[in-house]
């Protein structure tokens, strides 16, 4: 289980509060993404998306062949690379290998924290509940599991 440092968690909380991201479910990241240019591409199933940072602009590209919940996760994940201020200008993300790389794990955790309010897992999670919560929040079920695990490890629950 990976984690996120406290400064970054503070940044995420600030963004969530500033843009009132968790006031409605499923979470809409629209206000947070206003400064990103987002496009969809006809990638093969291997590629989830990419983020490309320029001095005056930020760009996200995601695979348009992903399911809608996966597309929401992909956008949050790519934005997370930039929010976390990770080193680099180009972040390219595969659909399956995010857990092997520290930056990818961090981005996935941030995506989970952005798309899944803590109170939702705190109040509603039980073993086997992830698919139902995932449908309600329009995210993949494994992101619910990740959010739950992170909340447990971090001592939030």
């Amino acid at each position: 289980m990976s984690t996120i440092n406290d400064d970054l968690l503070d940044t995420i909380e600030f963004l969530v509060n500033r843009h009132r991201l968790h006031t409605r479910l499923p979470v809409e990241l629209g206000p947070l993404l206003d400064r990103f240019e987002i496009r969809k591409h006809n990638f093969t199933p291997m590629t989830m998306g990419f983020a490309f940072v320029r001095p005056k602009s930020m760009h996200i590209g995601i695979n348009k062949n992903l399911k809608i919940d996966e597309q929401r996760m992909a956008i949050a994940h790519e934005a997370a690379h930039i929010i976390a201020n990770q080193a680099g200008q180009l972040f390219v993300c595969r659909t399956s290998d995010w857990s092997r790389d520290r930056d990818e794990r961090e981005a996935q955790l941030i995506a989970a924290c952005l798309l899944i309010p803590l109170r939702v897992v705190a109040e509603n999670y039980y073993p086997g509940a992830a698919p139902q919560l995932a449908r309600a929040l329009k995210v993949p079920a494994d992101l619910i599991e990740l959010r739950w695990s992170f909340a447990r490890v971090h001592g939030d629950i």
């Binding site: 496009r39 591409h41 006809n42 990638f43 093969t44 291997m46 590629t47 990419f50 490309f52 320029r54 005056k56 602009s57 760009h59 590209g61 680099g88 180009l90 972040f91 390219v92 595969r94």
Partner: protein, 117 residues
Amino acid sequence: MIGPVVKNLRLERGLSQEALANLAHVSSGYLSKLERGLYKEPSYEVLSRIANALEIPTAKLYKAANMEHLLAEADPNFEPVAHDFAPKLNDLPKRDRGLILTEIRRIMLEESEGGAS
């Protein structure tokens, strides 16, 4: 496929094969074969001359021919940039690598056009 796209664009502009060939500095025979689909992936240099002759951006011609993913890697001007990003892209499927590079090329071209204006 690029051939029918070039042919349609040429006919839309009322150009004969010979006229377009002259404008694009290619032979009529070459253009004829290209339009019939005998050349599947002509070079960037030839396609950019044809695009200029048809008065459309080269990128638009690639996109119309569903060859957008080949654009960036074909463009010699973009080669140094593509080389810089290669380590992050080399293990991707060729199509995905091409699409990402093409998007990076588009973004950087727009920046330079914006900076010039």
